[in-house]
Symmetry: C2
Subunit: 163 residues, 2 copies
């Protein structure tokens, strides 16, 4: 893709969703797949050729989760709620969110987070995360960890053995 093929602007909810629903290992999907099926991510930053950070327009249907609860070692994350009322889970418990609210997840804090749509209405949010190399991801609730290698997250068991 050359620069000239990037659009000047776009209607976010008309950007094609990511084809692959999840990058998690199959054993993890076997456990949580149903709650990840209701998650749809439209990669807005990639559309414009951005490489330093990603921006997703993410839809969570009722019952869906944004991710397994996780914390990044080197990459910051940020969310902004556009529609609906998800619940944010962190180490300290649950926080109800609503449109116009935002949250940031500082790299290296160790505090793991995820959003859960516990309502009957779709949730729409923007998710931003940078792509700092050498990132590690911890998942306190699962036998799972990830390393950011060659611009892709590679998953292993907590003891380092592959899935």
């Amino acid at each position: 893709m050359t620069e000239s093929t990037f659009p000047i602007a776009a209607v976010a909810d008309q950007v094609p969703p990511r084809a692959r629903k999840s990058l998690y290992p199959q054993a993890i999907l076997d456990l949580h797949g149903a709650r990840l099926e209701g998650r749809e991510k439209r990669p807005l930053g990639d559309l414009f050729g951005l490489q330093n950070f990603g921006v997703n327009l993410t839809k969570l249907e009722p019952g869906a989760i944004s991710a397994l609860r996780h914390a990044h070692a080197k990459q910051d994350e940020f969310i902004y709620i556009l529609q609906g009322c998800p619940t944010l889970y962190t180490d300290t418990g649950s926080t109800p969110l609503s449109p116009g609210m935002c949250a940031g997840f500082k790299a290296g804090s160790g505090d793991a987070h995820r959003l859960v749509n516990e309502t009957e209405r779709d949730v729409l949010c923007l998710e931003i995360g940078d792509r700092t190399l050498g990132d590690q991801v911890i998942y306190p609730d699962e036998d799972l960890q990830a390393s950011f290698v060659d611009n892709i997250f590679r998953f292993t068991h907590k003891d380092g053995t592959p899935y």
Copy 2:
């Protein structure tokens, strides 16, 4: 500020705005200050201690501009329109935007951009930019350039002499 002082979440439009309206040199403010006065930035990412990228909730009153038209050498930028209908100016001309639209400005493209509120209603948008070191900023319409040094943009004339 220690990590424990960061909030879990926040209502974006209640985050205090940046005290200093603009970082531009006084000579530039003398030329464009009136159109920058109507710009208000709430630093959402900083509130959570994020360091790899910034997220601003930016309000543009009628007549206000988001910035002088500029292009970054190393830092990506992204905007998402929450409210109102700004006009995006790039090297190729003007593009009308509306709520739910987004645009990305890829580092190194050389294509300079800014938003202008040419309507009678306030514009609200999210602005995201990373903080890659060694960034240079070009301003094709002004005798101005900037370098990102020690996490701050330092401005000079195009021949490198200070303001």
